[in-house]
Amino acid sequence: MSLLSFMGAVELGLLYGLVAMGVLLSFRVLDFPDLTVNGSFPLGASVSAILIVSGVNPWVATVCAIFAGMIAGFLTAWISVRWNILHLLASILTMTALYSVNLRIMGRPNIGLSGENTIFSPIEDLPYSHLFFMPIAMFVIAGIVLLCVYRFLSSEKGLTMRATGANMRMAKAQGVFVNQQILFGLAMSNGLVALAGALFAQSQGFADVNLGVDTIMIGLAAVIVGEAIFNPRVILTALLACVVGSIFYRMAIAMALNAGFLGLQSSDLQLVTAVIVGVAMITPKLRSKIIDFKSSRSKP
């Protein structure tokens, strides 16, 4: 892997780190498996893209994208808690609908943004932008978001949300409005994912209706790989772990893109990615197994 594609993987990994944090909120904190992200990622991309090509300030466009994502997440939560529909099904409904919505928003299947004024414009044309400046910009953004999410989750409001996910009956008994927590939590999670979508469109230079196809898989893989590597016990490590997991996942893809050297065909990419990620998840467990085995043998 060249330095350039390494830095490219870091840049995209940090971007998808936002998705991973969103998935962490729904999947781990609220215990609500949420497929809406497959729709809210391209939603964020399309909202920001169409606004930018219409001449709106890119920062305003990004904020609009966040709100659009929040509405999508809110809708899923509302369908689920108000009508008592299984969380997975509720999110599939929103995800399905969002495909059409995204097509409507853009008016066509994809919009190119190269040459438009984006939030990355000031650094994009600098020499070596993909080597240094874009990854640094992503690092700063991911860092700020991580700190905000961390501050929130360790505040009283955040603890209430975590309690809801950890034990809903107990939380209810303590006087927590659990439905409200789910509505708010999913809005926040999908707002984050839509922000990632908006940043994706602006850094990669296009928004595409098929962008979101496996957002949930990327997000989940990042969360789980992160957990396998770090074995987090506190929320800050959990957040850090999913960003690192996301970067690792991108590295795996970049390596797999290069798989020709093993006599593999280029179409084996998905298989290679799965194997690399699988090995990363199994290795820590194997290590602890070996330690267990050794300590059991040393006992008299």
Partner: protein, 195 residues
Amino acid sequence: MSSLKNHPENVTGVKDAPPIKKQIEFIKTLLPTAKTIGVIYNPGDNGSASSLETMRKEAKVQGFTLVEVTPINSSDIQAAVLQLVGKVDAIYVPLDNMIVSAMKTVSSLALKHKLPVFSADSGSVESGATACVGYSYPQVGLETGELVANILKGEKTTEIDIASPGKIDVFINRKALETLNISLPETIRNQAHFY
């Protein structure tokens, strides 16, 4: 369909499959020193899969090494282009739905790293690809129209072979060419369409 000459009674037409042989020859004309070509395509795209077979054969015949990268998702396209930087002298994009719709990204990224992008379809040149040798869709339509006219005049469909359009066009993106500092041979410049 058994062959282009021996086709079912009620089927004939003008074929617009990209002329891959000519396209590789064109890369040679424009970049005489080029040795390796990077190809970006989605392995799940049937159109790319079939043109890749021809591409591999032709590249071998004409002495090029192919480097294939296969993003399966539009989110992997940037990684795919970066993967090629430093390894290839030019990028070729076949008629691939996913890559062609992200052509602006591919070409601006490639241009930033001084790589020319050759596309299989003329439309991509408008969105930033450096150059393309191929059929213009109006030309395909024109020749199909002539076919239809002949049939209306009484010619039998069985007697008309399915063939590519007689005229091949060259499409050039002027801005990309200037950025890359490629000089066009006089003969090409005279007949090319510029964007």
